[in-house]
């Protein structure tokens, strides 16, 4: 079991670095395409924290990566405003591709996280938000 911890200041310019680092770690056990999808989820989670939890404040994002065989667990902790509890229903992305005026410009982040990761759980512990996501990584062929 390997555990690696990252800490970044909650600014958008820092998100790429942590996304790329986790992508690289994942490629040690899974395909590059799966690792790329994990990077997408990491980026969307960090963006959400910065744009929502830290919308009115600033702070750090702590990310703990736990790799147990091919089971990946990522835990994101921030000290920003309370984030909504996990939605009862999975976020959807319903639109008619032909109706240009109704296409979604936002709201795709939660859908992507939910689609890419196997599970997610949000907790408010004292003054911190803790989001835990897990994914079973397919082994590299």
């Amino acid at each position: 079991m390997a555990k690696i911890q990252f800490r970044i200041e909650g600014h958008l310019e820092n998100v790429a670095l942590v996304g790329q680092a986790i992508n690289t770690i994942c490629t040690s056990v899974c395909s590059t395409s799966t690792a790329y999808q994990v990077e997408i989820a990491v980026v969307e989670i960090c963006n959400n924290i910065i744009e929502h939890a830290y919308a009115q404040s600033s702070g750090m994002i702590d990310i703990a990566l736990l790799l147990n065989g091919t089971e990946l667990q990522l835990e994101f902790t921030d000290t920003g405003a309370a984030m909504p509890e996990r939605l009862e229903a999975a976020p959807t992305l319903d639109f008619d591709p032909e109706k240009r005026e109704e296409l979604p410009e936002g709201g795709m982040g939660l859908f992507l996280i939910d689609t890419i990761m196997d599970s997610s759980e949000t907790r408010r512990i004292q003054e911190t938000n803790v989001l835990t996501v897990r994914k079973q990584l397919r082994t590299r062929q």
Partner: protein
């Protein structure tokens, strides 16, 4: 920091993204630069993503905004999407919204009057 470079083709304005990541960090500025081009009368656009390695939902949302700003008075097609970036288009079903071409020349031809 320049985000895009433009090249006038007989059939369209080719707009090449010159950053390797089209993400939340630059999405707002990208949207502003693209909207300016549209408001200057460029209604047939090829967005060349051949230099982009990563796109997040903010970057994708900014491209959707451009399409909505164009409305029915023009069109925006996309060229040169790398396999990894295509993942984002497929996951969000935006591959059904945008016409995607392997290169900007073919994309521009598709916009010929």
């Amino acid at each position: 920091m320049s985000l895009i470079q433009t090249q006038q083709d007989p059939n369209a304005l080719i707009v090449k993204v010159v950053q390797t990541r089209l993400d939340a960090k630059i999405a707002v500025n990208f949207k502003e630069e693209m909207t300016k081009l549209i408001n200057e009368g460029n209604h047939k656009l090829v967005l060349d993503l051949s230099g982009v390695d990563f796109i997040d939902s903010s970057g994708l949302g900014a491209i959707v905004t451009c399409l909505k700003v164009l409305g029915r008075k023009g069109d925006l097609v996309i060229a040169g999407v790398k396999n990894d970036v295509m993942t984002m288009f497929v996951l969000t079903r935006m591959d059904r919204v945008f016409q995607l071409f392997p290169n900007s020349e073919d994309a521009a031809k598709s916009l010929a009057a």
